[in-house]
Structures are given as C-alpha cells and as structure tokens.
C-alpha cells in the first residue's frame, strides 16, 4: 500500500472513531501498537526518510485543516501520525510536538505530544548527566537507544547553526531549559561550549527583534 492510501485511511472517520472511544492514553498507545495500518505505516517510515518527512508535514497540514473542518476533528489522525513518528523517528516526533502543543484544543494528540516531550527530556537529561557530554560516554548501551541519543545530541549541536526566528528562539530556549535548567549537578557538567550556546539563546529571546535583524 502506498503512503497516499495510508494517509487516506488514517484520516477517514472510520479510522478516527476506532480510537476516539478509548478511555485512557495507555489504552490508546496499546491499540495503536496493534492497528494494522499503523504497523504498516511504521515500517514504511522506517524504510524511507521521505515518508517520515511526508508524515511530519501531514501533521502540520492537519493542524491547519482542523480549524476549518466541520465533519472531522482529526485528533486521532494526528495522534496516529505522531505515534508512528515517535516509534520510528523520535526526533521528528519531538519537532512535531511543539506544533501540536502550541495548537492546543486537541485531546489525544496533545496528551501524546506531552508524553513524547517528557520522554525526550528524560533522554537529554540522561545524556547531560553522563560524563562531560563526551559522545562515546553519553550513549546508553542498547543500540536503539544509542541511536536515539545520538540523534538528540546531534540535534542539540545543530541548534547553533539554525537560522533563528523569534519563534524558533523560544523553542530552543525551552529545549535548553528541558535539558539543563532543573538539575544543578547536570548543569555543572555541561561543557563550556554548551554554556556559551545557552547564554546566546537566552539573550536572543530577551531581544528577539534585535536578534532577527542581526542574526
């Protein structure tokens, strides 16, 4: 089945009502784990980076569509896309969570987005608390988690290079807060390079307009 067919099915009313009846987020995740279309979509995402990007873009499109749509809420569809991304491409899922949480007004999608955010936050903290942010020390032992940790690490490093709008500054600031603000111990262990980056982002967020002009 092609990606288009998955999208068509996931955004149909029949698909959405399968999940709109459930009573808790854990049941929703369990149900999504077993749903055949989502299993197939996950394997498609893991095979192709283009498919993962397309699903990410689809979330953004649905968030816009929700505003004008009168027949469907798309809450379960967005949650399903986020679930698949989280299982296969967690960094992409993490990026999607910001849009979903900012949008608000959804039930399962927002709950799932908070869970994804929390998971990544814990992961980043675990990287921070390992020895001095050295890459080979920071990675946990299991392969999958190691790959994920590497991705998170790379993303955090890449933040420096991104061209920054005021909205992105806010997101990066929140990311920095997630990764280091809570723990004094972990803060002590952050490298000098990272501290410079944090200061840079904080000062930018105070004067976003000025930053946009100069940056």
């Amino acid at each position: 089945m092609s990606l288009c067919k998955y999208v068509k099915e996931i955004e149909s009313l029949r698909f959405q009502i399968q999940f709109s009846v459930v009573g808790g987020i854990e049941i929703l995740l369990l149900a999504m784990e077993q749903q055949p279309t989502l299993v197939a979509l996950r394997s498609e995402i893991s095979r192709s980076a283009e498919s993962a990007d397309a699903v990410f873009e689809r979330i953004a499109m649905l968030l816009i569509k929700v505003e004008s749509e009168t027949q469907l809420s798309y809450d379960e569809s967005i949650a399903a896309y986020l679930f698949c991304l989280f299982k296969e491409k967690p960094i992409l899922a993490y990026r999607a969570t910001w849009r979903i949480i900012e949008h608000g007004g959804l039930w399962w999608s927002v709950q799932l987005a908070h869970q994804v955010k929390e998971y990544i936050r814990e992961l980043v903290q675990s990287i921070d608390t390992s020895s001095g942010m050295k890459e080979h020390d920071a990675y946990p032992t299991s392969n999958r988690t190691a790959d994920l940790a590497k991705d998170v690490y790379v993303v955090s490093r890449k933040f420096d290079a991104i061209s920054i709008s005021s909205a992105q500054v806010e997101k990066q600031l929140s990311y920095s807060q997630l990764s280091c603000e809570d723990s004094t111990d972990s803060r002590d262990k952050i490298s000098a390079e990272r501290k410079v980056r944090h200061r840079h982002i904080r000062s930018s967020s105070v004067r976003p307009v000025e930053f946009m002009v100069t940056g």
Binding site: G23, I27, Q71, S73, W107
Partner: protein
Amino acid sequence: MSLELIHYDAEISKDSERRLVAYTRSGWPITVPRFSRSDRIPSKEHDGLVEIRTAELVDMMKGKKKRNLRVLSTSEDEYNCVGMIFCSRSARVDIKYVDEILRYDGYGKIQKDEVVAGDLVLYTFENMFSHIGMVSCVSSFDLRVISKWGKDGEVEHEYREVPVYLGVPAYFYTTRAKNVTVQVR
C-alpha cells in the same frame, strides 16, 4: 457519585493553563490533566461532531450488536466513561485512575449473578483497565449497561457489546458489598 468536582479554573497555574481538581469521597486527589478541556471554545460549525461519530460507530457494529444499541446522548460536553460515572459528566478522567477511585471510595468486587442496576462493570483490554459502565437493567437473559464511549456518545448496550478497543467485561463492582470500608489516606 463518588468523585466530587471541587472547583474548575479557580486559579491560573504558572503556565497559564487551566486546572481541574477532583477528589474521591475519602479525599484522594485525582490528577486531571491541565489540558483536559479544550483551550478554544468550539465553534458552531463543530456542533454535531459527536453525533456524526456516534452514528458511524453504531453503523460499524454488526448484526445483533447494532440492534441492541441505544444512543442516549450525543452531548458535546467533554467527559468520558470515568467522568460520566464519578464526576457528574463534567470531566475526562483517565481510566488508569479507576482502580484508585474504586479502592478509595469503598467499592467491592462482586460476582456477575450478584449484580443489580446501579452497579459498575469494569472492562479490560490486554489486561489493562480500559472502560467502565453502569448497569442499567438486569434480567435472566440480559444485562444492559450505560456507558460513555470515549469522546463519542453515551450508549446503552448489552454488557459485552462494545467496540473492540474498549475491551471485554472483566469485573463487577458495587458499594453494597458487606465488608467494604472506605480507605482513608
């Protein structure tokens, strides 16, 4: 009713999101997520969404299951199965809290043949609590339950006939049990 809605939106939390605080009879607090209610007021165009979804859901149920269903309400109010029974149809409370609510409110487990109208049926999906309903009618050949199907309508149905992800009926609970005491924190 064993869960009291103490207040809603009484204080603005530091992240400017509204809170819903609910307690069991014995004072056990239930953590209702900050985002348990939509931030946006639903527009008129969205009215009827629950009705459409519930009609489709009923349509999906085949044969006898479909005939036994009776849709009682397609209200747009935001509550779920737990909220319907314990929270006066005014909140969405995650099903994972149902174990605590039953324990701290003095509910006791009973057998199916002891069930009368007003008792509760707890459903499980993959050994996890997945749904709860209230018994509305008991006869020698039938046991009917009223329950809210997630975000969709409130339905009266035969106790085993629910959508697949709501699970299967596993336990029956009552407050009529003889040796049950309310566990106070």
